[in-house]
């Protein structure tokens, strides 16, 4: 049970003197609340696994500190930290039974036999592994093996946080749902800090109450799923979260107006103090752009196709060189393959060099 603080933490596989741009994990300072369910979301190679391994102690960071409840544990080995980790591929000890697998971490720590048996029975019950406790672990399915991996972490009563490194990669889609809800239930029951690494936004958004989005070694935004959706702090977040991702268009922004290809789009807020020389873009989610019949005063777009997702339809359109997605209202059809785009001003965000700019009211 612990709060985890990362203080100016960074890691480079090339050593501390490597140029900062090459760092796998760029300096980050953040706090993981005790009992929180976090997801670390980002594409492959964005540094999320590095961050996870730094927390678990498999990697010693090039710089910075990790605090558990305020105590610096950076130099401590993995064994000495109260961390459990579940890996992408189920790790089970082939020669042992499920029960022996679960007992392994306790046996290594010299816990008395009676205590081990009690804990193993308890965790076996918690994870629905009871019928298998005396079976060889190798014969089980991938999801049962992942549960054993998790169980080996939970069996230790002192565990402060459970780290998951894309644990559902090898699980069948149908079982993924079951296992994920099992994880959520465990989280509620055990009051453990859980950190879940994934590149799948559905997994992240359904599991976590706080999603931490990483991109290129940096934490670009950390917030609730709703925050990430409504107010992406970085164009990457807009683009990565949501399906289809946020539309991002290069624009000239002055005051309450954005100019895209000579056409003016109204903004809800005033942007007078944009940094000079920055690359200015506007971002708007497809949900807040509507295709309508072309009309004067609307940005005209060429319709490429319309995707019907069942409850909602998205038109894939083209404005000049830029491709956009926009909501197609029921009954919308295009006569000549063109359409006008109607933007919802309250959901158009302005980005300078990919970072969100807050306008003045």
């Amino acid at each position: 049970m612990a709060r985890i603080d990362l203080v100016d933490l960074a890691h480079s596989y090339g050593g501390n003197n490597a140029p900062q741009e090459s760092f796998a994990l760029k300096p980050v300072t953040m706090t993981w609340r005790q009992g929180g369910a976090y997801a670390l979301l980002g594409p492959s190679g964005c540094g999320k696994t590095t961050l996870l391994n730094v927390i678990s102690g498999i990697i010693t960071p090039s710089r910075g500190q990790i605090l558990f409840d305020g105590k610096d544990i950076t130099p401590l080995s993995t064994q000495k930290r109260n961390i459990a980790q579940v890996f992408q591929f189920p790790v089970i000890y082939d020669t042992m039974t499920v029960g022996q697998n679960l007992a392994f971490p306790l046996k290594n720590r010299g816990v008395p036999k009676a205590e081990i048996d009690k804990r193993v029975a308890e965790i076996g019950r918690l994870l629905d592994l009871e019928p298998y406790l005396n079976r060889k672990a190798t014969r089980l399915t991938a999801d049962a093996k992942q549960k054993i991996s998790l169980g080996r972490g939970l069996v230790r009563s002192d565990v402060a946080a459970v780290l998951f490194d894309e644990p559902l990669t090898v699980i069948d889609p149908e079982l993924k749902w079951q296992l994920r809800s099992k994880l959520k239930a465990l989280h509620r029951e055990l009051d453990l800090t859980m950190i879940y690494v994934t590149h799948d936004q559905t997994e992240a958004l359904t599991f976590a109450d706080t999603v931490v989005v990483m991109h290129d070694g940096r934490v670009v935004q950390s917030g609730t799923p709703a925050e990430l959706f409504d107010k992406p702090a970085h164009t990457f977040v807009g683009y990565f979260i949501g399906s289809p991702g946020m539309n991002i268009l290069p624009a000239e922004v002055r005051g309450r107006e954005a100019k895209v290809g000579g056409h003016v789009i109204a903004l809800n807020r005033a942007y007078d103090n944009l940094p000079a020389g920055a690359r200015i873009e506007i971002g708007v989610r497809p949900e807040f752009v509507e295709v309508v019949a072309p009309a004067p005063g609307l940005l005209t777009a060429k319709i490429e196709r319309i995707d019907d997702l069942g409850r909602i339809r998205f038109a894939r359109v083209r404005v000049g060189d830029a491709k956009l997605a926009a909501r197609a209202p029921g009954g919308f059809t295009s006569v000549d393959g063109t359409a006008g785009l109607k933007f919802d001003p309250s959901h158009v965000h302005v980005y300078a060099d990919s970072l969100l700019v807050e306008g003045a009211a």
């Binding site: 980002g42 594409p43 492959s44 391994n53 678990s56 102690g57 498999i58 080995s77 993995t78 064994q79 961390i83 459990a84 980790q85 890996f87 992408q88 591929f89 189920p90 790790v91 000890y93 082939d94 020669t95 042992m96 392994f104 971490p105 290594n108 720590r109 190798t138 014969r139 089980l140 399915t141 991938a142 093996k145 991996s149 080996r152 972490g153 990669t169 090898v170 590149h199 799948d200 936004q201 683009y239 990565f240 399906s243 289809p244 991702g245 946020m246 539309n247 991002i248 268009l249 290069p250 873009e281 497809p286 894939r316 060189d321 830029a322 491709k323 956009l324 997605a325």
Partner: protein
């Protein structure tokens, strides 16, 4: 898909039949023929039926005594070198570096003894162990040990065993190393988190994951050592007395030294049979282990080979429309 029936295809296999017939079947049948007869040279043969085989298995006769004694020595030799080479090979493999240029260096050094021809290995040790001009023999004697592999049974045995260990431990080590390298890093990380000691990691992860290569190593080393001929022949010539005369050496002595073709043929057939039986046992054990693995593999689509799921492109890397 339906198979096309074309009996003419048999002609394509015919050359192989002929080659195998002339290179294997005919010589083998000749040996079978010899094993039933006695000869005194001059190409004169006398029918003996299964007489040689009876003698071979009867320790009270000269032939049987020699055969069974050499067989016993051979089995003992195989047992000893397995008991040394397998654990030693594992230890060497475990202590090898896992990355960096030292890996290549270690592999080359380990491979060197394997590349040396048998008779050269024999010659090296024959000279190395000589008390008068050999470095090993001279130093041992200088240090006060009365070491002489030509006159002392135990010294001869020690020399032959050490020579085999020197020559072949590398093979076991390389096989084990390959087995170790195939263990995913996550196992070690998980063990670290589980607080496993070095010994526990070995017992719970490394040994079980190596069991297949170890089986192959034991098979190869057993077969090789059971058929050993050149090295001890060059070093000790089977002596002192008969103390290092293994089955193959005995066989050559009977066949070429005494020109007892009948006895030698019978002996080589029995020798062959023993090797076949051992091979069959190993083969059965190994395929059974393989079946067990297959059953596991079908119930779990994962673990070692990265499944295709993992290789699925990440959404962010797919070209996404709507991004300028």
């Amino acid at each position: 898909m339906d198979k096309t029936v074309n009996q003419k295809a048999w002609f394509l296999v015919l050359p192989v039949f002929l080659v195998v017939a002339f290179s294997a079947v005919l010589p083998l049948m000749t040996v079978v023929n010899y094993s039933m007869q006695d000869t005194f040279g001059n190409n004169q043969f006398f029918w003996n039926g299964v007489g040689w085989f009876k003698e071979l298995l009867d320790p009270s006769t000269d032939l049987g005594g020699r055969f069974l004694a050499s067989l016993g020595r051979n089995l003992f030799f195989s047992l000893v070198i397995l008991a040394i080479e397998v654990p030693l090979g594992i230890v060497v493999a475990l202590s090898m570096p896992r990355e960096g240029w030292t890996v290549a260096a270690c592999l080359v050094i380990l491979a060197l003894p394997l590349l040396i021809p048998w008779n050269v290995v024999g010659t090296i040790w024959q000279i190395f162990g000589r008390p008068d001009i050999g470095l090993l023999g001279y130093l041992l004697n200088a240090a006060g040990f009365d070491y002489n592999y030509v006159s002392n049974d135990i010294d001869a045995w020690v020399t032959v065993i050490v020579m085999d260990v020197w020559h072949w431990t590398s093979l076991v080590a390389l096989l084990c190393y390959a087995g170790l390298k195939s263990i995913p890093e996550a196992y070690y990380q998980a063990a670290q988190i589980d607080g496993a000691s070095r010994w526990a990691v070995f017992k719970a992860i490394q040994l079980p994951k190596m069991n297949r290569v170890l089986l192959i190593a034991v098979l190869l080393r057993f077969m090789d050592s059971f058929m050993i001929y050149t090295e001890p022949f060059v070093v000790t010539g089977g002596g002192p007395g008969n103390s290092t005369t293994f089955v193959s050496i005995e066989l050559v002595k009977i066949a070429l030294g005494q020109f007892d073709l009948g006895k030698a043929a019978a002996l080589s057939l029995v020798y062959n049979l023993i090797i076949l039986i051992v091979c069959w046992i190993f083969y059965t054990v190994m395929t059974n282990a393989g079946v067990e693995r297959k059953v596991q593999a079908s119930s779990e689509p994962a673990v070692e080979p990265k499944p295709s799921v993992a290789l699925k492109p990440v959404p962010a890397l797919e070209p996404k429309e709507g991004v300028a």
